[in-house]
């Protein structure tokens, strides 16, 4: 009889130990994160042509830190014709300053406001949810006297659900 109890006890210990090693629940990077706003820069005189910005930095109005312009986290890019910037999860939208530095080192700051409707999609247990942005509208702030380098901002793809294609075109 005591032998039987021993076997049972051994089996119980083994089962309890094995059940405590669960697979780690880490969010793998291949799952889609919250998409970014992808902006392409075009020539205002011939919008079929891309036109690179000499040197560009972007930051939210009121912040001192610059926003990441690509998934590598660069905050300043030179000769850049497209950027991917994060959007704020806020019903008031995101107010960005686009700071261009030309070849002569002269800065020109224009403000563009992006408004949108917020949405969300379940990803998985480890990654949680991702935000999506619908009906994106880009508005370039007026300046007097007019010294804007950004001539216009047009929505190409109003629903930002992935990083696969450009969402907004800026002509300059």
């Amino acid at each position: 009889m005591s032998k039987r109890f021993l076997f049972l006890a051994a089996a119980i210990v083994i089962l309890t130990l094995s059940s405590s090693c669960e697979k780690d629940d880490l969010c793998a990077s291949e799952f889609a994160a919250t998409p970014r706003l992808i902006i392409i820069f075009k020539d205002q005189l011939n919008p079929l042509l891309t036109k690179a910005v000499t040197s560009l930095q972007v930051r939210e109005v009121g912040q001192t830190a610059f926003a990441p312009l690509n998934t590598m986290g660069a905050t300043v890019l030179t000769a850049v014709d497209s950027i991917a910037i994060p959007l704020k999860f806020d019903t008031a939208g995101t107010h960005y300053e686009f700071i261009r530095t030309d070849a002569a080192g002269v800065e020109n700051t224009d403000t563009v406001t992006f408004t949108y409707e917020l949405g969300e999609v379940y990803v998985n247990r480890a990654c949680g949810f991702r935000a999506i942005y619908n009906n994106v509208i880009a508005t370039v702030a007026q300046e007097t006297p007019v010294s804007r380098w950004v001539q216009s901002a047009t929505t190409l793809q109003p629903n930002i659900t992935s990083n696969a294609a450009a969402h907004v075109e800026i002509r300059h």
Partner: protein, 222 residues
């Protein structure tokens, strides 16, 4: 596990039955509880569960078997907190491989079950998966209910039951499960299924174990 099984099978009996003595097996309904659920309820603050187990001997080898129970589990992940609660039933049969000596009444068995769970989930917190930290990542404290969920699965069981006193049995068992039909919310997933266990994003396999304490109500011998 295998060492234990082999050792039980080799336990010798000192007396050898003569041909003229025939030992009869007891037949009856064996009912009990799963001590593993009770143990976990006592130890784990995020778990409450109860499971009743039963089997009925059909012949020398075969038993009709089943389990019924409830579970309530709170899960805390990096970006999602949710709780699941509901009940389940499992029905099937066990086959006893163990050759009992004399009047012994032990089991080393394998069995199959079909399980059905009906449950609800509540999402209590979630975060957004971001690839940068330029903007603060909002945490959503919510109370979002997903009710009327269900799952059907098939399950393989293996285990042993040892008679420790007349008609009183202790057992251990392990389960391997595969979900067949899952009724999931449109905007969320079933993170835990009562009776099935936690789910995985990459497979529909579940595992589990139990410690049974059961009593056989003896009905007849043959």
């Amino acid at each position: 596990m295998f060492l234990a099984i082999t050792a039980v099978a080799q336990t010798p009996e000192s007396t050898i039955a003569t041909d003229s003595v025939a030992f009869k097996s007891t037949y009856g309904l064996r009912i009990g509880i799963d001590a593993a659920s009770l143990l976990r309820t006592a130890i784990d603050d995020n778990y409450t569960g109860f499971q009743a187990i039963a089997d009925y001997r059909i012949n020398k080898r075969w038993y009709a078997a089943g389990e019924i129970g409830t579970e309530q589990v709170d899960q805390f992940n990096e970006r999602i907190d949710a709780s699941t609660s509901g009940s389940f039933i499992k029905l099937g049969a066990d086959y006893n491989f163990y050759q009992n000596w004399l009047d012994m009444d032990n089991m080393i068995y394998a069995g199959m079950r079909v399980g059905y769970a009906t449950f609800g989930q509540e999402l209590t917190r979630y975060d957004y998966y971001q690839d940068n930290r330029y903007f603060p990542i909002p945490t959503n404290e919510v109370s979002q209910e997903f009710s009327g969920l269900s799952t059907i699965w098939v399950e393989l069981q293996a285990g042993l039951k040892v008679q420790v006193l007349t008609n009183l049995y202790l057992g251990v068992n392990v389960h391997l499960r595969r979900s067949v039909v899952q009724n999931q919310p449109n905007t969320f997933n079933n993170l835990y299924i009562p009776g099935f266990g936690r789910t995985y994003d990459t497979s529909n396999i579940g595992v589990g174990y139990g410690y049974g304490i059961s009593y056989r109500i003896p009905l007849f011998k043959k």
